[in-house]
């Protein structure tokens, strides 16, 4: 065992897949590009030679049938991981997720588990434009019966994927390609991060920032900048967009009295709206200033690098908004 072993995000996913496939013959990976050395990053590296084409299944471009195929295999007792290397292309395959997998156990009165993982990759930036960049976790979080997880670092990427594979319910696992080259400590072997539990990423007393996925990274950078001007930020990494860990969020907001949510999805009806509503409903009397949301503007992603820069919020916007909140507060 290497102490403090650093592992890249994409290789943490690769390791989770490898361990779970070795551990359980029911686990298999299906989706576009899983045989390719570059299509899904390094995440499927070495798996084809180890597990063969029966369990590392590259597919034609047929998102609807392939997504349903994963759901059907799960209904028949397997534990498939259906990968869509870009979330955008999954839109043809929403029916098996939303109509079938999400409803299946409930509409048959239980005893009808669908242990499938939909692994969706957000793959934005680089002037790729509107159909190569969408973050749609709010859409999936809206649907009863689904669970939605979004790791922010390598450690979580591995632990959450293992939990998702072991879960008896459909889990939407969304990761961000912008995190694929980041590294942090990742233990060897199997470990789990519980679905539906957030984590306090940084302790602070002045303001609570709730973030997830890539935005945790930006929030941490912002917190460092703010520390230098005497603002002590507490950061909560949601890890799961559904179910939401109200307990961890509420405990923090009660302590700090100020709340900001930073999301990498759109503003309207987004995850930031849901978390803000919960805080306003239940913690109104603790708030020293109005809740603050940072999210993508309600616009398709533009291509030009100049417009991209204006479109994606980052650490500097977080710093600016926190300072405004502190000025406005009681």
């Amino acid at each position: 065992m290497i102490k403090n072993r650093q592992l890249q995000f994409s290789l943490a996913i690769n390791e989770a897949l490898d361990l779970m496939m070795a551990n359980d013959k029911r686990v298999f990976v299906i989706g576009q590009g899983v045989k390719s050395p570059w299509y899904v990053g390094n995440t499927t590296r070495g798996l084809l030679s180890k597990y063969g084409e029966q369990r590392i299944i590259d597919t034609p471009v047929s998102e609807n049938a392939i997504t349903g195929c994963g759901v059907g295999a799960a209904i028949a007792g397997m534990r498939p991981i259906v990968v869509h290397p870009r979330v955008d292309f999954l839109m043809y395959g929403l029916d098996p997720i939303i109509n079938q997998a999400a409803n299946w156990n409930y509409m048959f009165g239980g005893n009808a588990p669908v242990p499938v993982v939909f692994w969706l990759i957000i793959n934005r930036g680089g002037e790729q434009g509107a159909q190569h960049s969408q973050a749609l976790h709010a859409l999936f979080s809206h649907i009863p019966g689904l669970k939605v997880v979004m790791p922010s670092n390598s450690y979580d990427a591995k632990g959450l994927l293992i939990s998702a594979i072991e879960d008896n319910n459909p889990v939407v696992y969304i990761d961000d390609r912008w995190l694929y080259n980041t590294s942090c400590f990742v233990p060897e072997g199997i470990y789990r991060i519980p679905i539906g539990r957030a984590v306090v990423r940084r302790k602070g007393k002045d303001i609570t920032i709730v973030a997830l996925s890539y935005m945790v990274k930006e929030a941490l950078i912002a917190a460092e900048t703010l520390r230098k001007v005497g603002v002590d930020v507490e950061i909560i990494d949601l890890r799961s967009a559904k179910p939401l860990d109200k307990k961890t969020i509420f405990a923090s907001v009660k302590k700090t009295g100020r709340f900001m949510v930073v999301d990498n999805g759109w503003l309207t009806c987004g995850l930031s709206a849901e978390v803000s509503a919960l805080v306003s409903e239940e913690l109104f009397k603790y708030l020293k200033s109005p809740v603050q949301r940072i999210a993508l503007p309600d616009l398709p992603a533009p291509a030009s690098r100049v417009l991209e820069k204006a479109y994606y919020p980052g650490a500097s916007l977080i710093v600016k908004k926190v300072k405004q909140m502190l000025r406005k507060g009681k």
Binding site: C69, I75, A76, N111, P115, P144
Partner: protein, 327 residues
Amino acid sequence: MSKNLSKDKLARLYRQMLRIRLCEESFIEPILQSVIKCPVHLCTGQEAVAVGVCSALQKEDFIFGNHRSHGHYLAKGGNLNRMVAEVYCRSTGCAKGRGGSMHLRDVSVGMLGSAPIVAGTISLALGAALAIKIKRENKVVVSFFGDGAAGEGVLYEALNFAALKKLPIIFVCENNLYSTHMPIKDCRVSENIFEIAKPFSIKTWQVDGNNIFKVTEKAKNAVSLCRKGEGPVFLEFLTYRLHGHVGPDDNVQGMHTDIRPPEEIKCWLKKDPVLQLKNYLLNKKVISKPKLKVLEMGVDREIKRAHKFALASSFPEKSELNKYLYD
């Protein structure tokens, strides 16, 4: 044409078809009285497809159904009482009152589920077939869908993938000539749906779906091809629903929803699959009239008991609204 079927087997096929027929007809009165409120898509007239196809399957084989799946469920061996109770949306139903008529499942006999999104369960059946292939089992999956599903893109994606991976799946298209209210000639240029499988190099046949012997024979053939690793197979069964799309009175002659020519209905009534088999059994003296009567009374009693069971069952508890969201 029934050379390969024993007298016992013939009587069993008839019993199963009659059981589905009487069960479907038994829902009419409670629907009209609003005791049954959920949408019920009767399969009266299509019994031979369900019974013939399922007679070629083993208990361990899988099927997936659609909105009109009472027949599939019963033919695969699903529990009658629990199905009837589900149509009444009672707690003792096969989906504990969460599903209704369109959501039937009895996993103990390989009926993995029915759902009404048109073509929605085709890809699920595809996945079950993939699971069988990965596990190197010798099972077969049947996907039941209607002619309307041939308008959905996912069917073509599934045909391609099934052919590509040589999956043990039988695509069963029950062509009853109507996609809800729309005649097939208004939906497609070619009425021969079975031809859609040809470009995928899938073995495909068009079969008289009201003739139990022909259905049984082709289904057997398809199952054996799949077990030998020579699947997938596509079977189009030409048949007709004697009621409307949903409920007992939709599309009935004289109603404002009536859309089918009287001559057409008359012609198909003559081809009633249950009647056809009954006449065959009597004409060929496979079974005597008194014995047939006993059989029919037995089925009738069984169905009456199922309704009694359902009506005596409680509705689901309001306090259990949240139950079953997750496993």
